[in-house]
Symmetry: C2
Subunit: 211 residues, 2 copies
DNA sequence: CGCGACCTTGAGATGGCTCAATACCAGTGG
DNA sequence: CCACTGGTATTGAGCCATCTCAAGGTCGCG
């Protein structure tokens, strides 16, 4: 049985690393779990995470969920090719964003906007590889490593993300995620201080696990 | 046992629907299966399909393959955020493309390039939903429907794509793809004339199957 | 203290995988 | 013309990774 000191979402430091185009907008806050916009709504606004984290969600008619991406401080989201959001966006934890009209992007250089979309695309393709071809263990490990990198967290990762969100991102069930984490700990590869704080004890070995 | 009149790839009509930026380049042909560029190579060229079809492939160290996207006539591919291709590109069948230096894109408008990347991204997110949350039957059906639409093929889809490529795109094995198609035919939803030519007999029912 | 949200663990079921055999077709060479 | 080969597709049988269902634990909060 696992020690379970804290079931609250870990705070995410508001560090905008700003490789994205500057975008002035109105600040807005969302509570944990709150919807920022819904699938199918008119996509006339674009957003940028200031602090917290955002999930982009696609849902099937029968309720199956797939999180297609997370966004962390400094990142832009809500930009669409069409006039409607293809995925919903929700706050993963207490989150603040800035909002701007989409038209306010037109002044940006082609390079910067295009680069942003391309980076998202590449991350999505990595994700597709994970979903299509990796085992449960590989999925969880690659997720932890990706998160450590994106949050610039070193070896000690504070998960702003629940087991359910991990499962919905990784195409697994919550039970499988939980069991996998337990097993990784039993193997000495990670240490789970509390369920939202994970220490990557053997990053080299972890990286080898997923390729 | 299935009639199997033809195991050759179906030809893909060279119909560039040209919503993409005009891009003059040198024409080049590739044989079925031939590599156009490899994962990790310097990404200084961009390509456009003239006829045929192209697959973008990510491969794990142990050989597991995931096709992250297909490209059909008129579509651009090979554009990267970084300086290196993140996925390899291969000709699915006899294919001709035009090639240009990446720098030749800089004259294009922000809107058009950006829109292209965003469309690819949205398709990739759909793909992630399929890989993460749909059953084998749903995957195959959504693939057939997507292909019918992208090839503008109506109800009679000529697959330029082998069972193995379908499997590698859908995150399944070739056996599962084959069994699924057999079952769809037994259910009267499709008719397989030869293994590369599929008739969607009840498109409505098929669409309902995957959402 | 009791409730609700979240997480873990166990036992059994199952969808898709693995391994193996067979079939079909195109091309090649005798 | 046939035999043979290699690439592709289909089918079957058994297995296993993950899912489902169910129970219990931990924490934060009213």
């Amino acid at each position: 049985m696992q020690a379970q000191v804290l079931a609250r979402p870990a705070p995410v430091r508001p560090i905008p690393p700003d490789p994205t185009p500057s975008l002035i907008g109105i600040a807005k806050s969302f509570a944990r779990g709150q919807e920022i916009y819904g699938e199918g709504e008119a996509a006339d606004l674009v957003y940028r995470v200031v602090s917290g984290a955002v999930r982009e969600v696609r849902v099937l008619a029968d309720g199956r969920r797939q999180i297609v991406d997370f966004h962390f401080p400094g990142e832009l989201f809500g930009v669409q090719a069409g006039r409607v959001y293809r995925a919903g966006a929700e706050a993963v934890c207490e989150t603040t964003v800035t909002v701007a009209r989409r038209s306010s992007l037109s002044g940006q250089s082609a390079e910067s906007l295009w680069g942003l979309a391309l980076r998202d695309l590449e991350r999505c393709q990595d994700h597709a590889l994970t979903l299509g071809r990796r085992s449960a263990t590989e999925r969880v490990v690659s997720f932890l490593l990706e998160l450590a990198e994106r949050l610039d967290a070193g070896a000690s990762v504070e998960l702003p993300i629940s087991r359910q969100d991990m499962a919905d991102y990784l195409g697994l069930t919550i039970e499988t995620v939980s069991r996998t984490i337990t097993q990784l700990q039993a193997d000495g590869l990670i240490e789970v201080r509390c369920c939202r704080q994970v220490l990557l004890k053997r990053p080299r070995a972890l990286a080898e696990l997923c390729e």
